[in-house]
Amino acid sequence: MMNSNGASSSASDGGGRDSNPPKRNSKKPKYSRFTQQELPACKPILTPGIVILTFAVIGVIFFIPIGLASLSASEHRYDLDCIPKELRNDKLGFIQSGQTNKTCTRSVVVPRYMKSPVFIYYELDNFYQNHRRYVKSRSDKQLRSKKYEQDTSTCAPESTSADGSPIVPCGLIAWSLFNDTYSFSLNNEPLVVNKKNIAWGSDKYRKFGSDVYPKNFQSGQLIGGAKLNASIPLSEQEDLIVWMRTAALSTFRKLYGRIEEDLQQNQRITVVIENNYNTYSFGGKKKLVLSTTSWIGGKNDFLGVAYLTVGGLCLFLALVFILLYLFKPRTLGDPSYLSWNRNAPGYSN
């Protein structure tokens, strides 16, 4: 194991040799453990014991998360189903048209008991919210304070309206705000969806200004997504705040709201979807997700599997090393293993 070694022996030969300072202006370096590079230090060496112990400990630790995979979730893809069969050849036409009825009713069966709160997410696929052009197209200053309303320089191509006045909130991200809506009912009883506090408190209170109101938003030729109520300050527009947290990957979920009621297994929930958002132009899927969460985060299978794999591997390695050490032992610190001793007579290896 790690021994602390004070390097005491060299301390004595540094000081001992000339304890009497000969001349006053002697340039002899003053002895100190630091300057003589003799600081006390611990010198770890990977002994068989340490190696095996390390692997064993890791192996055991990595089996712990096994019990964590008790979360449940239900996913429901609706982007195709919510287009009437006859219009499926022209999905883009359907979604872009102002005339079509985009309401669609679907039903979801609860796979397992879900304890409240049940989080409602929408999941988009193939939507590169992390695309460089997209990520950069926002103005955080403008979002934060009325003072910087004019600060739209980074927002192209959605920076100003046709007459040159600034768009608030500007930029492609805000412009493409998701605008499908869901309403839930259970046994014809509407389920209340709580859309309060779906955004991070930090964003609401310090990042999005309470004095910043939407202006000129979605007033151009091309409508990217949801419109905003110009009388509500940005700090209250939680859907926008959630949306503005650009996702890390092209498949992402965003919190839509919470159902603050426990859901029982096999309950059939009816969802009325306003299928407004155009993902058809880039071939993205849309999903509605109901999920519970815990301290660890949302439901996630990968981590459990990964931990088990690593843990198993470590236990295996521990075993391998035990066997190796048993079959090919070596005395630590035996000088006969030094290369110039190895060739000497008497040591065949």
Binding site: D13, G14, R17, D18, K23, S26, K27, K28, P29, T35, Q36, Q37, L39, P40, A41, C42, K43, P44, I45, L92, Y121, E123, F127, Y128, N130, H131, D140, P157, W175, S202, R206, G220, Q221, A247, A248, L249, F252, R253, N278, S281, F282, G297, G298, N300, F302, L303, A306, V310, L313, L317, L324, R330, G333, D334, P335, Y337, L338, W340, N343, P345
Partner: protein, 1193 residues
């Protein structure tokens, strides 16, 4: 130049070259060309008078001797007016009116406040890597490419430039400060009849300056007069060439009486001298005064930086000032060298650039593919929005696929730029600085005798010390102390080298004072008895003549030094040759005390009787004649010629017709002296009759006043008179071995470092020193090559080669049959002399020599010239990749020191020239062992690891960025904030690698000293090679994949935002690379702990601070991430998964394939070392080492 051992050189060392000139082809081939290398500066004055008792100044002839002939003949020419500078004495206005000569203000500072920025930047950008980063930063300023914020992209480069600039500025500030101090020193300048104080910087060419005793001379001046009536001034030139002995300079007789102190108000005249040059041993001028034209030589000029000693005042006229002085012209640093590791590193840097280009190409290709595939959707995807609909369908920031691809490439270069680690350069400089600090502070490298610490003069080759395979060592002053001690005398065929005893201290009485030579040597009782006995006999007469020759035939200046006892004075002999000093001290111990030397006479206390001898003429030592002579007018009115010189030259001029047996006996004594390692010298004399004397006198006078070819004329005069000598005897001087040299050589040999000794000494002396320092052993087979033609050289080399291969074949046969390895090999030693080397170096025979020499274990080159030393170093350096180290102390080693990969100067007896040219300087040869085996090993190990680690560290980060780019439609978004990207190599990970690079030790000093073989790790390049680089890079790819993909898979289908996952990646990378470093640390001391854990904490703090800025998109992301357990599980998972392969390989290798270092580490830790150590010598003892006598049978 450090070393002119003037008149005698028992076994003449090769002439010292005046400047570290590059090897000139011809100088190897023609021995005769060597003579031009020798230059002599001092003690060349002779006052010559018919009537010795009262020398009339008018008849005195002074000459500035040989030196001018030596500067490659340039001095032979009369100075033409075009080439000359005219100095009007005491008329600075007129002097300076036509041409503006430099003032005396000096400026060693490189920059002024105004020029600092441009000049410093210009110099810094000589580093190609910096240009690369500048180009990237400029690219990033283009709006289409702005990947990072503009400030952020400039920051790393600015930081590196700033650190270097601050360092340079500080150094320059110190130079300016010392300049200011220097410039404002005061000197006495003649101003209207009286001397007034003036600042040094205000002195001008043409001014007359007065210097008092112990003052430093402010500029180069021609002496006009001194306090000595004969115009002698003594100078200490320690600042110029490091020699602490006194040099003599002379004022011209014509000017002596014309200075204000003599009541004459002013002096006027014109000096016509050569243009400023850097030759400190040459000066060529003439002076017109009172219508007479007098020639001036190097003995008439006193140079800036010297100190006036033993002369109460001196007056001179300024001829060169300020930056035109010789000392300033000479103050250029050593040529910069580049370390082996760094050049390897450049190879890997190029590989990394290729890797960078590959990554960028992949991204570009995929981006192009993606754009092509999604061409139709580009306009309608909300995340791309090609068109700017508000503006009539203009494209927004889109220039067509081709251009997009091109821009993607440039952008990816910008994003991945830190693949080439910019911080590595600055880290390396800092690490070297730290390593140098510890080398300088190492008390094991401190030399008590000379009170000198180790010096690091070059800061960029520390790590080369760990890879040395060849050590080329000078002998005198390096292996030996260069403290000569008189040991043996052979007088008229009688050997006086029996048991030596100390018979009190010989002293003489002067008035009521007692004068005593500063050093007493042990004397031979027989000789002492003979001298003191007082009975007149032939033997006694010869002995007296012999000792008189020793006391008189030299250029030693006796100085009488006060002691605490007012009655006791010590006689200190100052001279340029330690051999001469030894001889004069020896003569003094036998009762021939030299007590006074002036320009015209010497006073010797001969066995209590003070006698005055007139020095009528002196022929200096030159490397052609290899002897010197002096003509003495004795009190009994006889005129005697004393000659001393090397045996080879002396036996040629000795009259062998008489006393053949004496000659033979002396020859055999000489042989036995040199076989025990003594430096030998033969002394002869002749009494001159009046006709001979007069003939010589007229020739001598003519020669010494000649304007052209004075040196060769004088040489002819000397050769004519130095004939038919009567052999007086021979002396043997011991050159003492330095402390610990044999042990040091043994350690180096064990460390598989070949030690070659290159010496100017005779073959016999060299071989005997070789034995005494254990370089040669009795088991060795010696191959000796002494040839006098190219053909015989070729033949002996071929013979040597066949012999050596035969011997090694025999050895291997023996080995096979006995089954016993290695130790059975017959060691070979090659001994070759300078004459043979003349025919070998720079011809096709070099190859043959190389073959033979590399087979041999030891190579000893005797009688080699300085340039040949460099040639031998080049022989190895040009033909192998092996690192060479040259160590020497004298000016004759300068060329070798500069030629070798690592040059080490011994700051000892000889001048500072070697130290000035060296990369490292230290006090003793034996320090080479701790320097190479301990510091060299550590430095190499640390630097090698640091370079590798820096490559790894940046590559992991770049790969992590790269993986993410693959998930962003190849649009080069970075999840890691730009500030983290910038701070990554500056704050997050920089400190630990520097601390480890300075402090980590794989093995303790004790172990490294005990097992010199461990040095092999550096020689075999075990710590840094292409394979290690490749494996590290593979590990890098695995680790970056672990960092990237674990969070990716864990957070897919989640609400995670870019900043949040970016923060996770940032923390994961930083923790991982720091733990990776921690895993490789050999010794965890508190600094290591602080730096590694501190950096991780600092990173977390930085990430948190960045996420606390509300106007950044990632506001508060880290806190939201940390709320979830997933974050922590990812972090732990990443670290474990990433480190497993490395840990497995490390554990496996360390246990099953342990390197020597690993085994030694275990021995250190598990105590077996101590058991073994008990019965072996741990460190080189400080005992004085045996003199050669003891080991000769």
């Amino acid at each position: 130049m450090a070393h002119e051992r003037p008149l005698l050189d028992p076994s003449p060392r090769p002439p010292a070259t005046a400047e570290p000139a590059p090897p000139v082809a011809s100088s190897f081939r023609f021995p005769s060309s060597r003579r031009s290398a020798r230059s002599r500066a001092s003690t060349d004055h002779i006052s010559f008078a018919i009537d010795p008792a009262s020398p009339k100044p008018s008849s005195a002839v002074r000459y500035g001797s040989r030196a001018e002939s030596d500067r490659s003949g340039a001095s032979q020419k009369e100075i033409s007016d075009d080439d000359a500078r005219l100095v009007f004495i005491n008329d600075p206005e007129k002097t300076n009116e036509r041409l503006d000569f430099a003032g005396n203000a000096i400026r060693t500072g490189k920059y002024s406040v105004l020029t600092f920025l441009p000049r410093n930047l210009f110099e810094q950008f000589h580093r190609v890597a910096y240009l690369y980063f500048l180009a990237i930063a400029i690219l990033n300023q283009l709006p289409q490419l702005a990947v990072f914020g503009r400030g952020a992209s400039i920051l790393p480069l600015a930081f590196v430039l700033l650190v270097t600039a601050v360092k340079d500025a500080y150094e320059d500030f110190r130079r300016h400060r010392s300049d200011r101090i220097e410039n404002s020193r005061l000197a006495l300048a003649l101003d209207n009849l009286s001397f007034v104080h003036k600042c040094w910087k205000d002195l001008r060419v043409g001014e007359v300056i007065k210097i008092s005793a112990n003052d430093t001379i402010p500029c180069d001046m021609v002496l006009l007069s001194t306090s000595d009536p004969t115009g002698v001034a003594y100078l200490q030139t320690i600042n110029l060439d490091g020699e602490s002995n006194l040099k003599t300079r002379y004022a011209k007789q014509e000017t002596l009486s014309k200075t204000p102190d003599n009541g004459i108000p002013s002096i006027s005249g014109v000096i016509r001298c050569e243009k400023p040059n850097r030759n400190i041993y040459g000066f060529q001028a003439n002076m017109e005064i009172d219508g007479k034209r007098i020639s001036l030589g190097p003995s008439n000029i006193i140079l800036r930086g010297c100190e006036l000693k033993n002369t109460s005042w001196a007056i001179g006229v300024v001829v060169y000032a300020g930056r035109e002085t010789k000392v300033m012209l000479n103050s250029s640093g050593a040529p910069s060298k580049r370390s082996r590791l760094e050049s390897h590193m450049n190879r890997e840097t190029i590989l990394l650039s290729f890797l960078l280009i590959i990554l960028c190409s992949i991204v570009t290709f995929l981006a192009g593919f993606w754009l092509g595939h999604h061409k139709k959707e580009l306009n309608s995807s909300p995340y791309f929005r090609k068109s700017n609909f508000g503006r009539d369908g203009d494209n927004y920031n889109y220039y067509g696929i081709g251009m997009e691809i091109f821009l993607t490439f440039l952008k990816s270069v910008i994003v991945f730029q830190i693949m080439i680690p910019i911080s590595l350069y600055i880290s390396m400089e800092l690490v070297r600085l730290g390593q140098a600090y510890f080398m300088i502070r190492d008390s094991n490298l401190y030399d008590e005798a000379s009170n000198s610490r180790f010096q690091c003069r070059a800061l960029n080759i520390n790590e080369d010390l760990g890879q040395i395979k060849y050590v080329f060592s000078d002998k005198t002053g390096t292996l030996t102390e260069n403290k000569m001690e008189f040991q043996c005398a052979s007088i008229r065929g009688v050997d006086y080298s029996g048991e030596k005893v100390t018979v009190g201290e010989y002293s003489i009485k002067v008035g009521d004072q007692v004068w005593r030579p500063k050093m007493n040597i042990k004397t031979d009782p027989e000789l002492l008895g003979l001298l003191r006995g007082g009975r007149e006999s032939e033997r006694r007469k010869y002995a007296c003549d012999f000792l008189l020759a020793l006391a008189a035939c030299n250029t030693i200046v006796p100085l009488v030094v006060d002691t605490t006892d007012p009655k006791l004075k010590l006689v200190d002999y100052q001279g340029e040759s330690p051999d001469e000093q030894a001889l004069v001290y020896a003569a003094a111990s036998y009762g021939f005390v030299l007590v006074e030397r002036t320009s015209g006479h010497i006073v010797i206390d001969v066995l209590g009787d003070r006698q005055r001898f007139d020095v009528l003429g002196l022929h200096e030592f030159d490397s052609d004649r290899k002897r010197m002579s002096v003509i003495i007018g004795c009190p009994d009115k006889t005129v005697k010629l004393f000659v001393k010189g090397a045996d080879s030259s002396m036996f040629g001029v000795i009259d062998k017709s008489r006393n053949m047996d004496v000659v033979r006996a002396t020859e055999s004594h000489l042989h036995s002296y040199s076989s025990i390692g003594l430096r030998t010298l033969v002394v002869g004399m002749r009494e001159l009759n009046s006709s001979e004397f007069e003939e010589w006198q007229s020739a001598y006078e003519k020669a010494s006043t000649a304007l052209f070819g004075r040196a060769s004329l004088l040489r002819t005069v000397a050769a004519n008179i130095e004939t038919n000598l009567q052999l007086l005897g021979a002396s043997g001087i011991e050159d003492k071995l330095q402390d610990g040299v044999p042990e040091a050589i043994e350690s180096l040999r064990q460390a598989n470092i070949k030690v070659w000794v290159l010496t100017g000494d005779k073959q016999e002396t060299a071989i005997s020193i070789g034995y005494s320092c254990k370089l040669l052993t009795n088991e060795m087979t010696q191959i000796i090559i002494n040839s006098h033609s190219k053909e015989s050289c070729r033949k002996s080399l071929l013979d040597a080669f066949t012999m050596s291969t035969k011997i090694s074949a025999m050895a291997s046969n023996a080995q096979n049959s006995v089954g016993d390895a290695g130790s059975n090999k017959v060691p070979l030693a090659l001994i070759i002399d300078g004459t043979s080397l003349v025919y070998i170096l720079e011809t096709e025979l070099e190859e043959e020599l190389f073959k033979v020499a590399t087979i041999c274990d030891v190579v000893l080159c005797c009688r080699v010239a300085p340039l040949q030393k460099a040639g031998i170093v080049a022989l190895i350096k040009n033909r192998t990749d092996d690192m060479t180290l040259a160590i020497g102390d004298g000016a004759n080693d300068v060329s070798m020191i500069q030629m070798a990969d690592v040059g080490i100067g011994i700051s000892g007896q000889e001048g500072r020239q070697a130290v000035m040219a060296s990369d490292f300087a230290m006090g003793q040869f034996r320090f080479l062992v701790p320097l190479l085996l301990v510091h060299g090993h550590w430095n190499y190990q640390r630097m090698a690891y640091m370079i590798l680690y820096n490559f790894y560290r940046n590559a992991v980060f770049v790969f992590t960025l790269f993986w993410y780019v693959l998930y962003t439609a190849f649009s080069l978004t970075t999840a890691v904030t730009e500030w983290s990207s910038v701070l990554y190599s500056v704050i997050y990970t920089a400190l630990p690698t520097i601390i480890i690079g300075i402090l980590d030790k794989d093995l303790s000093r004790k172990t490294l000293m005990k097992y010199p073989q461990l040095y092999g790790a550096g020689q075999r390049e075990e710590r840094y090679n292409l394979w290690m680089f490749i494996f590290t890079m593979l590990d890098t790819i695995w680790q970056s994949a672990a960092i990237f993909f674990i969070p990716l898979l864990a957070y897919r289908h989640s609400t995670v935002d870019i900043s949040g996952i970016g923060d996770l990646w940032t923390l994961a990378v930083v923790i991982l690379v720091n733990l990776h470093l921690g895993m490789d640390v050999f010794r965890w001391n508190w600094l290591t702990h602080v730096s590694i854990w501190g950096c991780i904490v600092a990173t977390a703090i930085c990430v948190i601070i960045i996420d606390c800025i509300p106007i950044l998109p990632g506001y508060w992301a880290i806190f939201e991430m940390m709320k979830q357990g997933l974050f922590w599980f990812c972090l732990l998972g990443i670290i474990i998964a990433a480190l497993i392969p490395r840990f497995v390989v490390k554990a496996f290798m360390e246990y099953f394939k342990p390197s020597d270092i690993q085994v030694a580490r275990e021995m250190e830790k598990y105590g077996s070392l101590n058991e073994v150590a008990a019965n072996t010598v741990r460190e080189i003892p400080m005992t004085s080492f045996a003199n050669a006598n003891q080991r000769i049978p």
